[in-house]
Amino acid sequence: MHNVDVKTISYEVRRSCIEANCVIRPDILNAMKKAKSIETGLANSILEELIQNSIIAQKEMMPICQDTGVTCVFVEMGDNVHITGGNLNDAINEGVRQAYKDGFLRKSIVEDPLFRKNTRDNTPAIIHTDIVKGTDLKIMIMPKGAGSENMSRIKNFSPNATTESIEDFIIETVITGGANACPPLIVGVGIGGNMDYAMVLAKKAFFREIGSKNKKPPYAELEKVLLDKINKTGLGPQGLGGKTTAFAVHIETHPCHIASLPVAVNLSCHVTRTRTINL
């Protein structure tokens, strides 16, 4: 049995939330630099702003983007892990509370969707927990902004739908998202499962490194084809034209019902922020 104290969890969540919000992922910074080298005019100058922005944010430990998001958390907890001193969800929320206060991050959560009053500490986080085999506790953290989240979509296809029609839906989501979603994007796609699980898959896909491929060759190929098609739309950085509309398309799949084929497209902006804690 592996004992993990709630104080350790809160401490690590706090640290990861602050770091994710202020220090850009190295693979994203590299993607920005690579994109800048192939762009000209406005697209080039926008990418230069984004690169400078991430340098300032890291140097001053201030948020890369003012929308420091809703804290999305994916937990993979080994069945031989024992949480001591309290409860897992409370420990995560305590870490979020401390991070958003101590890190001068924006508190963007309202306690009720219709009767909107700010909770003033960015809690509650949205937590998905899977129990897995073993003694490890893995906590994946993603502060997710509303600009890109609001432009995400899900659709039920007929099981006989063509791959082309699914491609069209994904590309259409990127285009309708336009400048609102803050391209260049990472496009997370969840295919299969059911309505809720497809979107979970799409969101979890943001934790993959840019340049990584789906393990199944046909999906790796589809990722490549989609990225190429999305970048050929010409939407470009900030929707103002250019060759770089997305840095990556990440597809994740899951078994599904004989009558179903859900496809979820979760968009994430050029400030995709993730951190993974292993305890």
């Binding site: 005019g41 406005l42 100058s45 926008i46 702003e49 984004l50 400078q52 922005n53 991430s54 300032i56 944010a57 001053e60 201030m62 948020p63 890369i64 983007c65 003012q66 929308d67 420091t68 001068f104 991050l105 924006r106 508190k107 963007s108 700010n118 003033r120 509303a146 600009g147 609001n150 590309i171 259409e172 285009i175 309708t176 336009g178 400048a179 609102n180 803050c182 739309t233 010409g234 939407l235 470009g236 900030q238 929707g239 103002l240 034209g241 509309t245 902006c269 050029h270 400030v271």
Partner: protein, 185 residues
């Protein structure tokens, strides 16, 4: 790409000189206002009450900054999605608002009002929030304190970088770039 330095409040001549696609650097006073602040201003206008700032020639920045650290003028401060303010915008333009800074497309009604009342809509780079914060030299909370990040702040900016999206001639930069046909789906 034309680069122009402009100062606020924005005059008729300045509006006249700006075209979709121009790169501008804005200096002077701008006011922050997003969702709830817009709703409140809208209500004040409907009730014929005094507004927190003079709209004539003013520029509104759609932003909800992150909190300032000790020693900082403002926290990170990039633009939010403008379309959420669309339903409140035409009346503000009618009352003299001349400039808006945000990101993303505006509604046909807003674009019509920009043309009618001769104003301009700028986009700043979404997500460049730390960089944009560096152009803010002073910040004063002037209204709706209880709204926190959504309160109205009077900002003094120096060379705030933006791009003209909608000009008084009816041009829309987002319409000109690739993908714009699909955008309308």
């Amino acid at each position: 790409m034309k680069t122009i330095k402009i100062t606020t409040p924005i005059t008729k001549e300045t509006v006249k000189s700006l075209k979709a696609g121009d790169r501008v650097f804005i200096s002077g006073t701008i006011y922050t206002a997003r969702d709830t602040a817009h709703k409140r201003i809208f209500e004040l206008i409907a009730n014929k009450e005094k507004l927190p700032f003079e709209l004539e020639g003013a520029v509104i920045y759609y932003v909800g900054p992150s909190p300032a650290k000790p020693g900082q003028v403002i926290g990170s401060a990039g633009p939010t999605t403008s379309s959420r303010m669309d339903s409140f915008t035409p009346i503000l333009l009618e009352k003299g608002l001349k400039g808006m800074i945000g990101k993303g497309k505006r509604s046909p009604d807003v674009i019509k009002a920009i043309k009618k009342y001769k104003a301009v809509y700028f986009a700043a780079t979404g997500g460049a929030a730390a960089l944009l914060a560096k152009t803010v030299k002073d910040s004063d909370l002037i209204a709706f304190f209880e709204l926190g990040t959504e309160a109205i702040y009077k900002l003094e900016v120096k060379d705030f970088p933006a791009i003209v999206i909608n000009d008084m001639y009816g041009n829309d930069l987002y319409e000109k770039v690739g993908g714009s046909k699909l955008w309308k789906i």
